[in-house]
């Protein structure tokens, strides 16, 4: 009887306040979509970091015979200089940062080059001597690239130190900026959602004040009086969260899985599976939003 009564109360409340309920659904939908987008973008960044940071290395290009860089004024890097550099990289001060060092000789560089571009016409004219020796350093923590670079750059025989990661940085920058943007919009929309839910519940409570005063009079508990209002908010927020999850799922499916992932194969994109991971989070956020809003607005209307 009780459950049935609560359900009919909720039904009445939602019907009477239809326009407000719909706007709550829509606002939570939009705000949670932005939250979800931000989370998915960060998952994408994480995916790409995991995939690529393991492979990227710091390349220390050694002086070729005819370099214009001042550090290479002494001509091609000598074997002694190369050994010194290797000693520095494996010394006690740097070894905590360095995972592995290996010397790529001209021949190896040439092989790698031919393997990659061998089918191109212009590549046929490149000779082994035109290639450049380099030390390839993989780091324990790719983020600490600068420590190694500072120590090695400017030493005799070093033409240039390049962090392969820096090639990826602009991409991550874009993704991170997009995350900030999405999170910012999400924050604004969440504030709007909280205010709207608060107002909706308040309106609903006021339009039923006669009913609640009678319920109080005949001995209904506070919880029982508040429950229908809280559930109204929760149902609206829940619907918003479900819509947001569906929207993200469709978006990822049509934009990423059916289009980007087909044309850009070298990136490990987020997929609809990730959306399913994010969805419970959105639902939880939606319910927490509704709960907070109802606590705020109901405490005033339920004085015994």
């Amino acid at each position: 009887m009780r459950l049935q009564f609560v359900l009919s109360q909720i039904g009445n409340g939602l019907r009477r306040n239809m326009a407000m309920a719909v706007s709550v659904v829509l606002v939570t939908f939009i705000s949670l979509t932005f939250v979800g987008a931000a989370v998915l973008l960060q998952m994408q960044v994480g995916n790409m970091k995991d995939e690529w940071y393991d492979r990227v290395e710091v390349s220390i290009y050694l002086c070729p015979p005819d370099s214009s860089v001042p550090a290479c004024a002494g001509g091609e890097a000598t074997e002694q200089q190369v050994e010194q550099l290797q000693d520095v990289l494996t010394s006690d001060s740097l070894s905590p940062y360095v995972e592995e060092v290996f010397l790529e000789t001209k021949e190896q560089a040439f092989e790698a080059f031919q393997e990659r571009f061998g089918d191109q016409d212009w590549a046929q004219r490149i000779t082994v001597d035109q290639m450049q020796q380099s030390l390839r350093v993989s780091l324990v923590d790719p983020e600490l690239y600068q420590v190694v670079a500072d120590e090695v750059a400017g030493r005799d025989g070093v033409e240039e130190v390049i962090d392969q990661r820096s090639i990826l940085e602009p991409l991550f920058l874009v993704l991170n900026r997009a995350t900030v943007l999405a999170a910012g919009l999400a924050a604004v929309m969440i504030v709007a959602a909280v205010l709207l839910i608060t107002t909706t519940i308040r309106l609903s409570a006021m339009s039923r004040s006669r009913e609640t005063s009678i319920m109080r009079l005949v001995g209904a508990s506070n919880f029982f009086i508040q429950l229908p209002f809280m559930l109204e908010g929760a149902i609206a927020a829940l619907l918003g969260a479900v819509l947001a999850s569906t929207g993200l799922w469709l978006g990822v499916r049509s934009i990423i899985e059916n289009w980007l992932a087909e044309s850009v194969r070298w990136v490990n994109f987020v997929n609809t599976g990730d959306v399913l991971v994010v969805a419970p989070l959105l639902v939880a956020i939606g319910i927490v939003l509704a709960a907070i809003s109802s606590l705020v607005s109901l405490s005033r209307y339920t004085k015994v």
């Binding site: 009887m1 009780r2 049935q4 009564f5 006669r210 009913e211 005063s213 009678i214 319920m215 109080r216 009079l217 005949v218 001995g219 209904a220 508990s221 506070n222 029982f224 009086i225 015994v304």
Partner: protein, 229 residues
């Protein structure tokens, strides 16, 4: 059943107390008229029993409980033992007679079969059998008040508080309502009724408690309305 011990209630600081050092005991099964002009403290008395207000001084005991020590979340338990009837009926206009009475049982979690049997019983007792499906505006004032009484009594409370229940009704209808309250009283329910209606008080010959400016000036068994004047 209800005991007031030197109860004072001051609403605004410095203002004249709405109730001033009132001590009173109402036993189980008694019928008490609370009379006095508007603003004499009758409504405050009823609100204190319901614990809608708390006394500024003194203590109020209802059904063996000291309301000062009653924690907030137990207040609903207290109100389940008290039925309330008002001058303006306070029915829900969009619910029919049955639902208006049933709500009192539904909100305290009574099982469905209990509601289905008790509500028609009570409606029959107040003389509204067969009008379950009517909406409040389709009923006369007297009938609406009967619905309100049914709602107050359906849970078989120990106490019925009635705040000028005949205030909006013509004399003939009022007599009917009083008979009903009397019948309820005979089932062992304590009834406290605040009223202006001297005819009714004089007819019923019940205990009369008179308040003037918050002070109890008379407590008379089998009293009449205007004895003190």
């Amino acid at each position: 059943m209800i005991r007031f011990k030197k109860v004072s209630k001051v609403y605004a600081r410095g203002a004249r107390p709405a109730l001033d050092q009132v001590s009173l005991e109402v036993g189980r099964g008694e019928f008490v008229f609370l009379v006095g002009a508007s603003g004499s403290g009758k409504s405050t008395f009823l609100r204190l029993v319901l614990r809608e207000e708390r006394p500024t001084h003194g203590s109020v005991f209802v059904a063996g409980r000291d309301l000062a020590n009653l924690s907030q979340w137990k207040v609903p338990q207290l109100r389940r033992q008290i039925g309330c009837v008002f001058q303006d009926f306070r029915l829900l206009h969009n619910k029919n007679v049955f639902d208006n009475v049933a709500i009192a049982l539904q909100v305290i979690g009574k099982p469905r079969h209990h509601v289905m049997t008790t509500v028609p019983e009570t409606l029959e007792m107040v003389g509204l059998a067969g009008k379950e499906k009517r909406l409040p505006h389709e009923l006369s004032g007297g009938e609406q008040q009967r619905v309100a009484i049914a709602r107050a009594f359906v849970n078989r409370p120990a106490i019925i508080l009635a705040d000028e229940p005949t205030g909006n009704l013509d004399p003939t209808t009022s007599v009917g309502i009083m008979r009903l309250l009397d019948r309820i009283n005979r089932t062992g329910t304590t009834v406290v009724m605040a009223t202006h209606d001297d005819e009714i008080v004089d007819q019923m010959r019940k205990r009369v408690v008179e308040l003037v400016d918050g002070q109890m000036v008379r407590d008379q068994d089998r009293g009449v309305y205007g004895a003190a004047r």
